[in-house]
Assembly symmetry: C2
Homo-oligomer: 112 residues x 2
């Protein structure tokens, strides 16, 4: 079965979504920020094995695509806090379904 025009649009929407939120780190950063605003080092502590470069790149990419906000507070030294934009908050249903799937199908069926 080849896909129809309608199904092709579905593929395109998902492909577009994947160009913005791509890869494991993007999704984990959004998961953390869905719990509330976070500073760089807070996120780094909570993401297993992420390098400073990877986290910097992911945050910059998500900020450029207007999924997250980067806010600088004039403390000394300055505090930089990241949070979800409206576009980022709209991604939460994806994370919720992913969590449900992980809970129901991976933890159990693949536990060793």
């Amino acid at each position: 079965m080849d896909v129809s025009k309608e199904d092709e649009l579905c593929l395109i929407s998902i492909l577009e979504a994947l160009e913005v939120v791509r890869g494991k780190w993007s999704i984990l950063v959004l998961t953390l920020l869905s719990l509330g605003p976070q500073r760089f080092n807070q996120m780094r502590r909570q993401l297993p094995n992420i390098s400073i470069k990877s986290l910097t790149d992911v945050l910059r990419h998500l900020e450029q695509h207007e999924v997250i906000n980067r806010q600088v507070f004039p403390t000394g030294p300055v505090t930089v806090e990241y949070s979800l934009t409206e576009k980022g908050k709209a991604y939460i249903p994806v994370l919720r379904e992913m969590r449900i799937w992980g809970d129901n199908w991976v933890g159990k069926s693949e536990a060793h």
Copy 2:
């Protein structure tokens, strides 16, 4: 704000889900198969720029994790068809939310 025990479980579930369905190709393969069973070459035609090796690796990974079925029909030459398992079908809500997000936030706001 550091994450609580409950939030940590959320991160773990999502991390587990991402170990099974990881990367752009996995998600696009599941999207195609959510539309119906497909043969290798059908999928290859519909996935932009995927190499034979990448598609083979993704299919093997998803099959090992029991997300997709690989069925061989004794035609001459043999036909190999891929389809979603129950675990794979349970992933469809993630794809659906991703599509909605792509439709609402990427196609429009990032159109150039």
